[in-house]
């Protein structure tokens, strides 16, 4: 694994919005322990890239800036950024489609979700970006929302209880620039039963529920 890729920008600097976030983050750590802020700062950098370039990733230049800010060796930041899959060390599409294919989601039909993603975006394999630069499809491990399987995480939002057609609809909406409400895509509140409450029906809404 090497950082030598043509798309690496030569310079990176935090903008005003990011600086405000960083001030909040670093206030949480004692000054001599500020190296602990590396993960939040990587997120800040990734979000800033998403905001400014439409591709949420962390270039090496940004990692160097973070290392200087936290007074650690740059390699310590590279290690963290490459260890966690939430950080993209290469440019990605406008939307990052993260399909969970671990057991629960798989049993509940993640294959359909993945197939729909591929069909709607034209992506052939995991890790690729669509030709129009709109979508990057990644296979991820359990997202921890098995009760709402299968799940597609788009950037930071979970879209739950998906199937093939609804996934395609979601992607078409994203393509149009809409952001459908995250959460279950079926008639369900969070991970409550589909179609409403199934037990304790005699308890009123204002009751001791």
């Amino acid at each position: 694994m090497s950082a030598q890729t043509p798309e690496q920008p030569a310079h990176f600097a935090f903008d005003e919005a990011s600086e405000a976030e960083i001030a909040t983050i670093l206030a949480k750590y004692p000054p001599e322990r500020k190296a602990s802020g590396v993960i939040p700062l990587l997120y800040v950098a990734q979000r800033q890239m998403g905001r400014l370039t439409g591709s949420a990733w962390v270039p090496v230049a940004a990692m160097d800036v973070i290392a200087a800010r936290l007074e650690v060796a740059p390699i310590r930041v590279y290690e963290v950024a490459t260890f966690y899959l939430m950080f993209n060390t290469k440019p990605i599409g406008r939307y990052h489609l993260q399909a969970c294919t671990t057991t629960s989601c798989w049993l509940r039909g993640s294959d359909d979700v993945v197939a729909a993603c591929k069909k709607a975006t034209g992506i052939q394999h995991f890790g690729e970006t669509s030709e129009d630069g709109m979508f990057t499809l990644t296979e991820v491990e359990c997202l921890g929302a098995c009760a709402n399987a299968p799940i597609l995480q788009v950037d930071d939002d979970y879209y739950e209880d998906l199937d093939g057609p609804r996934t395609e609809q979601l992607i078409e909406a994203l393509r149009k620039g809409e952001r459908p409400a995250y959460g279950p895509t079926i008639d369900r509140f969070n991970s409550a039963p589909e179609g409403g409450r199934k037990v304790l029906l005699d308890v009123g809404d204002s009751g001791q529920g």
């Binding site: 694994m1 090497s2 950082a3 030598q4 060796a73 740059p74 390699i75 310590r76 590279y78 290690e79």
Partner: protein
Amino acid sequence: MVRVIVDGTPVDVPAGSSALQACEAAGKEIPRFCYHERLSVAGNCRMCLVEVVRAPKPVASCGFPVAEGMEIKTDTEVVRKARRSVMEFLLINHPLDCPICDQGGECDLQDQAYGYGSGVSRYDEPKRAVTDKNLGPLVKTVMTRCIQCTRCVRFCAEVAGTPELGAVSRGENMEITTYVEKALTSELSGNLIDICPVGALTSKPGAFQQRPWELKKTDAIDVMDALGTNIQIQARGGEVKRIVPRVNDEVNEEWLSDKGRFAIDGLLRRRLDRPWLKVHGKLQAVSWQDAFVAIARRLEGVPGSRIGAIVGDLCDAESMMALRDLMISMGSPNLDCRQDGAHYDVSDRANYTFSSGIAGIDEADALLVIGANPRHDAPVLNARIRKRYLEAGRGGLPIGVIGDMGSDPTWAYESLGAGASALADLMADGNPFLEKLKAAKRPMIIVGQGALTRDDSPVVLEACALLAETVGAVTDEWSGLNVLHTAASRVAALDLDFLPAEGGRSVRGMLSGGVDVLWLLGADEFPVHGIGPDTFVIYQGHHGDAGAARADVILPGAAYTEKQGTWVNTEGRVQRGFQAVFPPGEAREDWRILRAVSDVLGHTLPYDTIEALRERLQVGARHVTARRSAAEALSDSVLSKPFASSGASYYLTNPICRASATMQECASVHAPHAAVAAE
């Protein structure tokens, strides 16, 4: 002490020891890859598994602290089975390329696979392959062989203080890399080759040159800096193939600087392998006898006061002794070993040595560095300062620096100024750093050549002595005023009083026609072009460098690998190196040359064997009474210019490394960008 029982034998180990250390104390060998006694514990290879009674499963002994009465079993079926399983996992992705691997024959993985490896593999799936990394001109990588013990990562971060290597990515994709391709900037990078337990990091200049079992091993002393690193020269067929460090906790622990390790190709290039004599302005190859006769003819009628001798930085004590005896017998008072023009207070041996001892750094609790750049002057000593700095914890070892550090010294410091005036400022009452030094129990002051090679150095030295006294750096049980030398020969030369005698001339005085005949024993580091045009120059040495270029007679000598000799390191430790290979061609050991020429000159030296010479040799003590050299006018006031360390690249400080292609490459790779632009 804690009593633990290892395989039924009780042993006492200090509290806080690991189970592995307890097993070693009991004489049990525990296989390991990631554990290294001089690095932090990682515990990721799992090879050191042992059984602890009442523990539910085998434990990694390297990171398992001992407790009173703990019972450890190192050789049970459970342990053997566990280690076999670990070995099987390690070998899954390790290529079977031992026949073409430079580590073959000295590979931890190979050795331990004999004990714990299975003869056959159960693994049919594809093996992982990893891209090789370019870590610069010294360390070659074959990353597919890496077992990810992270010793190299820890070495860079902890010992070398240049955290450039890391483990990026995770799981199957984890790789040891610099991520952004770059040459390692450490002057200790060669040690990565030693600590890598497999063939992932090997020597780039030495790739595919030899097998370890073919090498003849000779103990010797490194001369590339004044630390006196204990080395082992490994040679085959009369050629030095490799130099590795020997363990000496009081000097170099188990590290060796890159210059000491990789300058060896310089021993084969630009060598003086036969005598030369300048006839009508051109050097001609001659016989030893003709060269001696030419010297004798030229010396005829020349009074002793018109003869001078300068010794170089790499000389052994024996040859310096022989040259001094020869010069004295010819009546010459013009002797000097200080090519850089350094001033020393030679009244007491403690005043020109690293008198606290190198191991004294481990005890220091405040440090002031004056005109030295330890990272360049002695990288291994610098690693020791860093070790102490890390051990002391945040703010535990205040370090002040007067002078220019150049590069990052790998420890945090307070800059107290650039020149001698900063010393006066420091001495002012209430200076915060002075208070820190005063508060310290064992304050240490390191004075480098940058402070000693100036016209105002006597004043600087006096100020340092006064400061040492003020802060209590020199007491009955602690001697904290240290001189860090850069020349391997210097302390021995000072011990031998290779200095201008009463009325004698120093190096500067011998230039510009100060003497008629000048004998250079491996001396190349002074302004050779300043030698007067009519001065007859005899160069005795091993490399065709600056001195030989100016010479009228060249006497080919032996390099440090080609002679037995005595060296005295910067702390005054007397150490002996042995002869690993023979000098090339007609070159001879230097003391023999001097003995032979003394015969021709009619001043026969009174010894025929090196043993007889050594009976006269009195290094390790100072017998001559003090005097301040009055040969040249010295500034009695402090000069304003900053303490400057030598401008030369770390990799090019002596004739051997200047002749080394490897060192030249390092110098160009690590050339400071600003300097390149300025040129």
